[in-house]
């Protein structure tokens, strides 16, 4: 890649995730396991982690049964686990590293679901990390594999590489122009999916979308990554072109400046309102309409004030009014510190 920046295309790509799903050869798949069998598997994974000095130093284990509902939802907001993982926490556990960029769900739909995150667009690096972790775990756990079918999974739909690569994208300008739904229909023909990342419906919160591959069989990891990379680059160019056009409008410039001012001074902030305002600010930074703010910091803020994560940070159950007030306070502090 020609881009020398450590974080690539971060004006549009918030982060990259590589997911790998794996199963052990000698244990029934998750839907056939009792709670105690699931717990035994957690112990086996824990031993595999402890056998490796590098992993045992950085990973901590979270027993999903020990978490409150709010703490568990916060893990979803931080992109560490899937929403499905919460449906039944019995015998389920999570290994996660310090900066929360690598996690391993144990007993999700499959025995092992590992994921690696990189900031911005960096599929190759995220894949290298996931691939390395996969190799380490495979040495002790011996994943089920067939030469013709690839990695064996509980649902035959995921056979093959068992890999999903996904990019979290900020597409405010394409959404504004109504282009996202047209693009997503075309992408499905190419084996890719473009969906709202936060919230459901046609207008995902904060114009944050997820672009991911669907095909795991008959395409190698490298081919799937190359496909996704090439489509992502086209989407990024389209979004940038649409942004340039939008940024000329005085109305849009006004909206961006007002959004920043509200975030800096509001005393109450609802989640939906926050996502719209932060999206406007992110757009404003990218279009050069306001002073630069580090994208990584904006991403951090976006996650920090999500409802459950905010409540966990508050340390107690909050009423809706208290939550809005705490959110506004956190945002003000955060932006003030950035300016300092």
């Amino acid at each position: 890649m020609s881009n020398q920046n450590p974080v690539c295309e971060e004006d549009v790509v918030i982060c990259t995730h590589i997911h790998l799903i794996r199963n052990l050869r000698d244990v029934p798949f998750v839907s056939k396991m009792s709670r105690s069998e699931r717990q035994k598997l957690e112990q086996r994974v824990a031993s595999a982690v402890s056998e490796n000095e590098g992993l045992s130093r950085v990973f901590r284990f979270i027993d999903m049964e020990s978490l409150s509902k709010t703490e568990a939802v916060s893990l979803v907001e931080r992109f560490l686990i899937s929403a499905d993982f919460l449906s039944d926490c019995r015998g389920r556990g999570l290994f996660v590293n310090e900066d929360e960029t690598v996690s391993v769900m144990v007993n999700e739909e499959d025995h092992i679901h590992l994921q690696c995150e990189q900031a911005g667009l960096n599929l190759q690096k995220a894949f290298e990390k996931a691939d390395g972790l996969d190799d380490i775990l495979d040495k002790s756990l011996h994943f089920a594999f067939d030469e013709n079918l690839g990695y064996l999974t509980q649902n035959p739909v995921n056979l093959g590489t068992g890999m999903r690569a996904s990019l979290t994208l900020h597409l405010p300008a394409l959404r504004e122009g109504g282009g996202v739904s047209r693009i997503s229909t075309n992408l499905s023909k190419l084996g890719l999916a473009l969906r709202g990342a936060l919230g459901s419906g046609a207008e995902p919160k904060g114009a944050v979308y997820q672009l991911s591959n669907h095909v795991t069989f008959g395409l190698s990891e490298q081919e799937a990554i190359a496909n996704l990379q090439s489509i992502a680059m086209q989407l990024i160019e389209q979004e940038r072109a649409a942004r340039t056009e939008l940024a000329e409008s005085l109305e849009i410039q006004d909206t961006v400046s007002r959004s920043l001012a509200i975030l800096q001074s509001a005393r109450m902030m609802a989640d939906d309102e926050f996502m719209q305002l932060i999206s406007n600010v992110r757009f404003g930074v990218a279009a050069g309409l306001i002073d630069p703010i580090d994208y990584g910091e904006l991403n951090r803020l976006m996650i920090m004030v999500q409802p459950a994560t905010l409540t966990v940070a508050g340390g107690r159950k909050l009423t809706p009014t208290e939550r809005r007030s705490l959110r506004a306070e956190k945002i003000r502090d955060f932006l003030q510190k950035l300016n300092a």
Binding site: L149, L152, T161
Partner: protein, 164 residues
Amino acid sequence: MLCDSCGKNPVTTHIKTIINGELTEYSLCAECAQKLGYGDFLTGLGRDYGSLLGGFFGGTELEDPVRCKCCGSTFDDIMRSGQIGCAECYHTFYDRLIPLIQRIHGNTKHRGKVPGGNALQQRPQEQLSLMRRELREAIDSENYEHAADLRDRIKELEGGRANE
């Protein structure tokens, strides 16, 4: 999530098909899945194949079903739940699962990582396909020098494979 077909009922079935290399996905409710012929997606295949096998083995299949040695699943269990019981099931019911897998994926040969190997080291076939794509992109972007270099490397690789 509501059914893509009727837009009224909750989704129970996700269908993913690849026809001529084009992937289409839809989410359907039980009723529409039945109507569109996907209701017996799993069971239909199993039964057809099962009865074929049953014919070969004198119809003993129903009375003495094969059970997976590892998890105890029968082929009917898999068809009913739509989920494979364990890794060993894939071997125990291999011949009966292959048509189902073909119906889902339209292709029955894995490409990519092999445990113990290195996924970053591409097999020649994959490397060729990636280089051909890069060549197309280089030509499209009128980067002819890079394209010529790629063309030579592709020829070299193809020559190497022909000699193998």
